[in-house]
Every structure is written in C-alpha cells, then in structure tokens.
Amino acid sequence: MAEQIEKDAELLVSDFTAPAGARRGLRKLAEQTPEPQPQVAYTEKMTPGRRIARIAMYVGLVIFAIGLLAPFVWMVLSSFKSANEVFSVPVKWLPETWVWQNYIDIWTESNMLVWIRNTLFLAVVVTFLQVLTGSFAAYGFARMRFRGRDVLFLLYVGTIAVPWQSYMIPQFILLSNFKVSNTLWSIILLQAFGAFGVFLMKQFYETIPEELSEAARLDGLSEYAIWRRIMLPLSIPALASLTLLTFVNTWNDYLGPLIYLRNPDLWTIQLGLKGFVSNLFDTNYALLFAGLTISVIPIAIIFLLGQKYFVEGIATSGLKG
C-alpha cells in the first residue's frame, strides 16, 4: 500500500513537472553561455536557401516582438499625452506635446501612495513567509523519511489541479468567521502558504547531492542545522526564483484583494487603478496611463534584473506561483 502510493506520487510528480533533462537544459539556457561549436557549423553550410530561411526567421521574430511590445509602448507614450489626445483619430503614437504633468498629478488626484504602501507591505510579508515556510517544508519532503510523507506530498501536488476559484467561497467564509476579511492579513494568509514554494524548493533540494547532508549528519549536525547551514546557502538560486515569482505575483494579484479588501484605505495598486477606471465616468485616461506605467515599472525592473531566476523558477517547477 505505502509502496504503491509512493510509486504513484513519484509518477505524478515526475509527470507534473518539467523533465529533469529539460531543467538542466534550461539552466544552461538561462546562463546564456554560448556554445562554441554551432557557430562554426552554420557558417560552413551557409547556402542561399539557408540564408533566406534565416532572414525569414528574423522577420518572424521582429513581427512577434512588435506585436508583443506595442501595447506597452502605447501605454507609456499615452501617459505623456493630454487627456483628449489619447482618443485622437487617426491614431497618433507620439504625443504632440509631452505632458510630464501627468506624473505629478497622479499622486495628488489619487491615493497612489497609500496603494503602493499597501501593495509593498503585502508583497514583502507574503514573500518572506512563503520563502521561509516553503523551503522549510521542502526540506522535510526532500530529505526526511517518515510515515505519511508521500501521502502528504500527494495532497500538495493534487491541489495543483484544483482551481482557487472553486474554493474561494468557503475560504472567504472561513476567514470572515475569523474576522480577518477586510484586513491586509487576509491576503497574507491567502498567498503565503501556497503549495508552490514547497514544490519549487523540493525540486531544487533534490538536485543537491544526498552525501552532503549525510556527511553533516555524521558530523553531528541536527536536521535543522543542516537546513540552515547547508541547504539554504546552496539553494540561493532557487530562493531567488521563489522570491521574485512570489513578489511579482503578489504585486499583480487582483482577485484576492478584490474579494477581501473592501475598505479603500486597504486597496492595493491593482484595485486602486481599477477603481480609478470605473469610478469616474469621464476618466482622465492620460492620467490613468501614468498610474499604470508607475505600477508596471517596479516589476519590469525586477524582471530585467532577475530574468535568469524567473526562467529557472518556472522551468524547475513548471508552475508560475
């Protein structure tokens, strides 16, 4: 019985995550180390047909990139327009005069500062708790052998197939009974204990050679000390992935705050900006775009700096947090 469960769990997990080989490949990809050999390979065989194929590929990529990035360019450019110019026909991409004032007015005409403060608080606390409890539990799953472990892990894995939308109502009633709905704590509880962190860290711990912790155990280190002094320092890349993905997810979360945070003083930046759209019938769209740009910029910077960890985190767990 126990063996069968263990086998099934293993199968389920291996099927549910990016294959190990892929993970290794991806890590290589993320490091962006150029392979020396193909360079030679294709310059040798550069027939006209291949050249045309290459040009076609570039054209395809450029079209893709334009399609992908045009909405962002549109957003940023529109944030410098005057309120009426956003809807000018025919469409103009560049603003006629650059209205920098939008970026000053947004702070006085909305509660932007409060929203950012709330969002930042949530993102930091959630990320801290998720990383701490996730990596701690992952050690138990990856390195300890004890009864009930596999069944427990199966429960964690199983919830991947269960959408939050299907149990948001009982969860809301539960948290309302504990009097935490309509406080920032509700979002912290909601986001901090997901299976995602456990999953990602466990996958990473399993790539660390067992001998390391075994040797430490023989040296008389307790399990907690092994986690603290060996596993944690070795798993810094995975911790970085988890930190970045959790932070971005919490920053961007819309549904949780929508359901739990009714009081405008508690609004996050997403709720606030959405409220800005629906509140005023004659929304100043240029101003709104300035707000949206401000809300996207921190995430864009974090992403550009930690790109490698985003890619690794997703490829390791196959999940997006």
Binding site: A18, P71, W74, L175, F310, L319
Partner: protein, 310 residues
C-alpha cells in the same frame, strides 16, 4: 503495510528494536516539524475550504450564515439554470480557442528562439514581458487598442482594406475571440519557456541522423522533435486546460461577462452568485462542477499519457 510488519516483529523483540522505533518516531516528529509551519496554512486555507465546499453545495447557505440541508436541490437548479449553461459553454468555447492557439504560438516561438540567432535573449525577454504585467494594465490598454472607432487595431485593419472590422469587445460574437487573443498574448511567454526547456532534451544526434537520411524540416519536426517533446506537451496541455477552465481575472477586467452574457464564464458565475448575490450554497454547487471538470480532465489526460508512454 508498515504497521503490520512492525507488530509482527514485535512478537519476538530483538534487542535493537525499541531503539530503532524510537529513532523512527523521532524522525517522524522532526519531519512533521519541518512541514508543519507551511501545512497549517495550507490545510486551513486550502484543504479545509475544499472539504467545506462539498458540504456547502448541499445546503442553502446564505448571507446570514444560516444553512439548511437541501440535498441535491442546488444541483437540480443548476441544470435548469440558463445562465449556468451559458457559462459552461463559454468556458468550453474559451478553452477550445485558447488551448490550441497558445500551444501553436508558444511552440512556434520556442522553435524560433531555439535557433542560434542574434538577439535571441532580447526576444525571449520580450515574449515573457506580458506575463509579468498586471492584469489591470493589460485590460485598460487592450480595451483601448480594441476600441471599434478609435482603436489602433481597427485602424490597421481598415488600412489593409477590411471595410467592416469587428466591434471586438462591444460585439457579442467578437468579445470572446478578443479575450482569447489577449489571453494568448499574456500566456505565451510562460508556455514558451516550458517548450524551450523541453526542446533542450531533443538529442542533436537524432536530428543529424534524420537529416542524413534525407528528412526535410517538416519531417524532422514531426518525427523527431514532437515525439521527444511528449512529456512537455503533456504537462503544458494539462496546465493550459486547468488554467482555461478557471479563466476569470481577464474576463472580469476586460468585459465583466458582457456584452450580455457572451463572455460569462464559470468562475464568474460562481463569483456573481456567491459574492454579489450571497447565495453561497448555490454558488458552491457551481464551484463543485468546476472542481470536477478540472479534476476529471486532468485524470483523463493523465491516464491517456500513461497509456501512450507505455
């Protein structure tokens, strides 16, 4: 199993045994202590709500927290509820468009970016960018881009000679395709990463061998790349299906289910009945339906994959 062996061994206790079982107990306690901080939150906020969900679906739980057992009444009502039927059909419609389109686009992108081209790193970043952008920003920007009169998209379509471009989010027929386009635009970077990871596992030698045998690009793709990608494809399909079934935030911020009920999806039906009309019991029954749709489709794909891989 393990307990039986333990008691059997207990009939003739060897001298080491008590120490060993003590050790095992200690191990179990330490193991649980690692998992407990996360598990308390996980159990309280995920497992218990899932169990409570099933109970609630058999009651008429309302805003006062008063709940009477009503048996299958909620489910009978669901079957007769026209809005619910529309929401199921719309969810399936969204999935039927979104799943193949996303696989096609993200796999195509991954194949392109798997080449040694200049600037690949930049394109990879660009493809991933929509995915980390907030949903509210996405909705506002795309709503304006899709605007039938003033939007750049329709202006472009008129420019290339389409006289009557669609009304997109204002038209019942085109609202869902518009949402699918934005959904695909947002998700493709994420699935592209998964496909790129999968492509790294395709052995170079196999491609070389096929080329030597005279296979063209398409034949190599079908006979070498695709079979090697099978595990990735399975994983992507499962995740895409679940994510399509539960589609909610995009709809909520882009169309709010409209125009009419043309983009009303299951998650939104649950949200409306639960949080807007406070019919928690009835909403739970709809949530149970969503729950089983996701579980069943996952199990079916899982079994199918198991059969094909053996």
């Amino acid at each position: 199993m393990a307990t039986i062996t333990a008691t059997e061994a207990g009939t003739a206790p060897p001298p080491v045994r008590p120490r060993r079982s003590k050790l095992r107990l200690r191990n179990t306690l330490i193991g649980w202590s690692f998992i407990l901080p996360n598990f308390i939150g996980f159990g309280l906020l995920t497992l218990i709500p899932i169990i409570v969900l099933f109970y609630m679906s058999f009651t008429n739980w309302n805003v006062f927290g008063k709940a009477d057992w009503v048996g299958l009444a909620n489910f009978q009502r669901l079957i007769g509820d026209g809005s619910f039927r529309i929401s199921v059909l719309n969810t399936l419609y969204y999935s039927a468009l979104h799943i193949p389109l996303t696989i096609l686009v993200s796999l195509g992108l991954a194949l392109l970016l798997n080449n040694k081209l200049r600037g690949v790193a930049f394109f990879r970043t660009a493809a991933f960018f929509p995915y980390i952008t907030s949903i509210v920003a996405i909705a506002v920007v795309w709503n304006l881009l899709f605007s039938p009169e003033y939007g750049p998209i329709n202006e472009f379509l008129r420019f290339i000679g389409i006289q009557n471009p669609p009304g997109w989010l204002t038209s019942p027929e085109w609202a869902m395709p518009a949402v699918v386009i934005v959904g695909t635009w947002r998700d493709m970077g994420y699935y592209m990463i998964l496909f790129l990871a999968g492509l790294q596992t395709v052995p170079r030698e196999l491609h070389e061998a096929a080329r030597v045998d005279g296979a063209n690009v398409w034949q190599r793709f079908v006979n070498v790349t695709l079979p090697c990608l099978r595990p990735t494809m399975f994983f992507v399909t499962v995740m895409l299906t679940i994510n399509s079934f539960k589609i909610f935030d995009l709809i909520l911020v882009m169309t709010d289910g409209g125009p009419g009920q043309s983009t009303l999806v299951m998650s939104q039906f649950i949200y409306r009945k639960g949080f807007e009309e406070s019919q928690f019991g009835y909403a739970s029954a709809a949530a149970v339906a969503l729950f089983f749709m996701c579980i069943i489709v996952t199990i079916v794909q899982f079994l199918w994959n198991k059969k094909r891989s053996s």
